[in-house]
Symmetry: C2
Subunit: 259 residues, 2 copies
Amino acid sequence: MNKQKPVILITNDDGITSPGILALVEAVKDLGQVIVVAPDSPQSGMGHAITIGDPLRLNKVHVFEGEGVESWQCSGTPADCVKLARDKILHKRPDICLSGINHGANHSINIIYSGTMSAAMEAAIEGVPSIGLSLLDYKFDADFTVAGMVARDLTQRMLAQKMPPHILLNVNIPIVTKETFKGMKICRQANARWAEEFEHRVDPRGKDYYWMTGKFIFMDKEPGTDVDALNEGFASIVPIKIDFTDLKMKEWLESEWDL
Amino acid sequence: MNKQKPVILITNDDGITSPGILALVEAVKDLGQVIVVAPDSPQSGMGHAITIGDPLRLNKVHVFEGEGVESWQCSGTPADCVKLARDKILHKRPDICLSGINHGANHSINIIYSGTMSAAMEAAIEGVPSIGLSLLDYKFDADFTVAGMVARDLTQRMLAQKMPPHILLNVNIPIVTKETFKGMKICRQANARWAEEFEHRVDPRGKDYYWMTGKFIFMDKEPGTDVDALNEGFASIVPIKIDFTDLKMKEWLESEWDL
């Protein structure tokens, strides 16, 4: 591996053959030594799952040979890919980890369900500056032009500058063209949730089953959220913490509870 | 359902037949109307996974009949169980959600890999006060006596008092007896990580595979963490936030980056 070039680890949760990861490779491949380690099948909704009860497979593949990029597919989750990449392929920390580009939004509360963000979070835990990137278009043949520009811009910034440890960005890109794109905005995570309405069906053998469906409920009353920025045509950037302690609630409990 | 009694939703990630969930049911069954909705098989390490690409099964079972408690098993993840319980069984928010008692620690960084905590987090997102409970003993036949006492004490407190919205507690219990137990302590999440060392093996057909193994690395230098409390023989209580925005990093980016 070339010692001068920064090592860029790329992964995703839609699987190694998805157009989104190809768009990401193309956007940054000249910025460093790119290595792709990604799931061999789609992993959407996997949250921060890791594989502890099953063996993991890891195989070198030729998916990105045309791009001059080394790639590996893994039978595990996005978080597994990051862990395996470091231990079995890179044998050291990459300089940056990029996850995506996801087909579909990961703003607001979606971060906790997102395999894309869990891979980026896993890298951040290991002290690697990382970015999860998601395009608000769920379509397989979505246009990743603006998302690729954003990925490239942020990667250049993060490789050029000394970053604080554990920097982790949740980046979402609206459905815009180069012409209608308003730029990037630093935001906070919007307060929102999904209201599930499971659709009941009966299988051919007469047994019940359910499909998860849901309605997005935006509950935030203050400005400055990622959802606001996206609605205005900006790409949203939310820096994410790994310490989940609720310090305000901690204070409340300490004053209210006599333990 | 009895209108006077608070509704207590119980779930876990070790599966509906694990001793830990039975210990939890036994500890709180007289405090309200208990309903169990839990995975039909072990889901450890599932993080906040949800099932969107597959249909879900949900069946009433007689597992807790002897306890006088209604129970359902679900083919999905812990987070799926909480979502389905509300939409298809309770048709309203429970008064409290308890997840566990997990066989094994979920302190510090483990929270992000934990199916136990993801179920509790899912409930908290929906505005239900919730507790994830984990015993530091991985053994199937672990002694849940003290963990049950802690579960009962906290459930009583949370049902008796008006709680702030989105209250979510990550509770871990050390391996102690009633006699050596020091009590409960409100803490913050320790800074720690896992260093993975995947064990390489070759299957009978000559193909490589890997088992995830790892070493826990404690990196915190200040007192007041959950790991400290557990080492001293206390049960640790960490209140958890659902907004993951890193406000300090947000300020840093706003001052450093000209977007």
